[in-house]
């Protein structure tokens, strides 16, 4: 196996074009996407809303009325949860925002005080939050806003003008309510507290940069590894595979040798990509080094196994090239390599789970953007490892069926 690995490494290094394509092409694409998306997430922009978590800590008629109101909005998928669970889901990037109706919501409403409602959101998905915010506010104030303002004006008039004629009081109140409602929600907006779950960090990486580096690196890695995988078919076509099979080797060790090489190159390629992003774009790699190394190892394993799988599923090199181009482009498109996932409709975001790119990119977001601890990134690492194991098992089976079938 090691001998095979060393042989492939030697051949790879002798092919300067392959070496250049493996490293320079992804660097060029990272540069391109980084320039395109580099400022994304640092400034407010518009997007669309899909899902909202809601934690009702007040459990009052008023808070339930808000829930009913929000649930009736077609464009919104509402999920009720407790605040800790909701916070974790938003921090993991599973939901864009969590609306918390704190205890005292109804009392504040009746007392005419500011509403204790808070929207915790993922800054990475602030475009979705931008759409969520007016929806929430409109529902909060369509039911109770007018009542709240009336209460405040009445209190003010009673305090400052206790002897005011009741008819005049009614006229003032109606005019004020009419003006306030017509004026829109400037004042109302301030009633909803907005807080990013990421908070303020000095080591903050731009999510656009993370997207550019992780998205491109994984997509290009898939292409590189698919090329390496198809060298299996090249061995078959040139007759070297037959010669390998008459040597005292098992068929599986030939496959493992190829996988080891693909795995090695994948790790090196990812490391080079991240180092490049560090040197040129200032990506902070030191936020969670153990998690980063594990994530690189898991991504490289999943991607290299996938590349070998693409070769094993094919019967000729041409077939492998066509198939891998098609599958990699589709997977990269749905998995978020080409377009950030939050630009996509929710169904597409669900479909993304079926791509290696998704798990890799989200894992790198967890590290570089969400700043999650290793323990919380482990599930994504486990999924990537699972994909790698599954692809390896399929590859072994297909390798025997398609590639070892020599005559």
């Amino acid at each position: 196996m090691i001998v095979l690995f060393l042989k492939d490494l030697k051949i790879f290094l002798k092919d300067r074009r392959s070496v250049l394509l493996t490293f320079l092409l992804p660097i060029a694409l990272i540069t391109l996407f980084a320039l395109a998306y580099g400022n994304m997430g640092k400034s407010s922009s518009r997007s669309r809303s899909i899902s909202l978590l809601l934690s009702d800590l007040d459990s009052s008629d008023a808070s339930r009325a808000v829930i009913t109101g929000l649930d009736s909005v077609d464009a919104l998928t509402l999920r009720l949860c407790d605040s800790a669970e909701g916070l974790a889901l938003v921090r993991h990037g599973d939901y864009p925002a969590l609306l918390i109706l704190h205890a005292g919501f109804q009392d504040s409403l009746l007392a005419g005080k500011s509403l204790p409602a808070e929207l915790l959101y993922d800054e990475l998905r602030e475009m979705e939050v931008g759409l969520l915010q007016p929806l929430i506010i409109s529902k909060l104030f369509s039911s109770f806003g007018k009542e709240l303002i009336r209460k405040r004006i009445e209190d003010y008039l009673a305090k400052e003008f206790p002897d005011l004629d009741p008819a005049l009081r009614r006229k003032i109140l109606e005019d004020a309510l009419s003006d306030n409602v017509a004026a829109g929600g400037e004042a109302e907006t301030s009633a909803l507290k907005l807080n990013s779950v990421q908070g303020e960090r000095e080591d903050e990486n731009s999510p656009g940069l993370v997207q550019a580096v992780a998205g491109t690196a994984i997509m290009m890695l898939l292409f590189s590894v698919a090329g390496l995988g198809s060298s299996l078919l090249e061995e078959k076509e040139s007759g070297t595979l037959r010669r390998l099979l008459v040597a005292p080797l098992s068929g599986n060790s030939i496959l493992y040798g190829k996988m080891l090489f693909a795995y090695f190159i994948s790790i090196v390629q990812l490391l080079v990509m991240f180092l490049f992003a560090r040197l040129v774009f200032g990506l902070n790699l030191s936020m969670n080094i153990p998690a980063l190394l594990l994530m690189i190892a898991a991504t490289a394993f999943a991607v290299s196994a996938f590349g070998i799988f693409l070769a094993a599923v094919s019967k000729t090199r041409q077939q492998a090239q066509n198939l891998s181009t098609l599958i990699i482009l589709i997977m990269s498109a749905i998995g978020g390599s080409m377009i950030p996932l939050f630009f996509m409709p929710s169904i597409m975001q669900k479909i993304a789970y079926f791509s290696v790119n998704y798990w890799g990119i989200q894992g790198f977001y967890d590290i570089f953007w969400r700043g999650l601890p290793l323990i919380e990134i482990l599930p994504r690492i486990a999924v990537l490892t699972g994909i790698g194991v599954l692809m390896t098992l399929f590859s072994i089976r297909l390798f025997r069926k398609n590639i070892l079938k020599l005559i």
Binding site: V3, I11, S238, G239, R243, V246, A247, P248, L406, I407
Partner: protein, 309 residues
């Protein structure tokens, strides 16, 4: 050393081998002679453990071939029909890689690589990429790769296909040197000259069946052709060729040259009768030559098809 007993192998509707049996003696060069598609490569694939026969048995040193596949692989070297080399690597790197698969100690492998490069006459180009070699040089490296682990048995599947005469001679010399060193060699070819020059015993194979096995002399006896008589008629009488060929049951007729070839079992006894038959038909003989029967004629006689078809 190798005993093949009644093996058959089919690929779908194609019967590549049908009830094939032969025995290979230790230290001999055993030829498998037949046209393309005769079953030579399938036989080599079975002997090299790449394929298993559908029925029948192969014994290696008296033991079933598949009872210890890895052990057998260590004892055999295979020279495949295709040039199975990594073209971007040098000859030396190829040798070190292929030899490394046999778990040879590094120092011994390096010495052996230098030795086989010397044997095939490529020491001076050892570090050049194989892609820069001529077809003949590649063939020689292809052969050298099978020698590194000092196998007892060498399986050579048409090792000179597409090779220039000079390289072909070099390959022959290497094979003769290996034979002299006591190696057992199975050599497949569709070139009768190669089989005649190299092989001590030859199995004639056609359409998956063995037609005959033996030394060239034994094959002559089996086929009933020991000598070939070549009669050339005077140019004015070439119209008589078909009639004379039919009456003498000629092996081959060349109307352009005005020649016919007649098989003989005992040329001294048969020659007067043949001359008389030609004259009786009105033919005037311009020249008569005789030669020992060659493999092509024997193959034609035994299989009914010409070797180069």
């Amino acid at each position: 050393m190798i005993t093949v007993e009644n093996i058959s192998k089919s690929f779908g509707e194609i019967h590549a081998l049908q009830d094939v049996s032969f025995h290979i003696r230790r230290g001999e060069i055993f030829g498998l002679l037949g046209p393309n598609g005769a079953g030579k490569s399938t036989s080599i694939h079975i002997l090299s453990t790449l394929l298993r026969p559908d029925s029948g048995e192969v014994l290696f040193d008296g033991k079933p071939l598949y009872s210890d596949v890895q052990g057998v692989k260590m004892k055999i070297g295979v020279v495949p029909q295709e040039i199975a080399l990594y073209e971007k690597l040098s000859a030396l790197d190829n040798l070190l890689f292929w030899g490394g698969l046999y778990r040879m100690p590094r120092a011994r492998l390096r010495n052996k690589a230098a030795e086989v490069l010397e044997l095939v006459g490529l020491s001076g180009r050892a570090r050049d990429p194989v892609s820069e070699y001529s077809g003949g040089m590649k063939r020689r490296v292809n052969l050298a790769c099978a020698l590194l682990h000092d196998p007892q048995l060498l399986l050579m599947d048409e090792p000179t296909v597409g090779v220039d005469p000079q390289s072909r001679n070099h390959v022959f010399e290497v094979i003769e040197a290996l034979h002299a060193a006591g190696k057992t060699i199975v050599y497949t070819t569709h070139y009768m000259e190669e089989a005649e020059r190299l092989c001590e015993r030859i199995a004639i194979i056609d359409r998956g069946r063995i037609a005959a096995i033996g030394s060239l002399e034994e094959l002559r006896k089996i086929s009933g052709i020991t000598d070939i008589l070549r009669i050339r008629l005077a140019p004015s009488q070439r119209a008589l060729l078909p009639q004379i060929a039919e009456s003498l049951k000629a092996l081959r007729v060349d109307e352009q040259k005005g020649e016919l070839e007649i098989e003989c079992q005992n040329i001294g006894k048969e020659l007067p009768q043949i001359i008389a038959a030609v004259q009786k038909a009105g033919g005037q003989i311009e020249s008569i030559e005789s030669e020992r029967a060659h493999l092509e004629s024997i193959f034609l006689k035994l299989t009914g098809t010409a070797l180069r078809d």
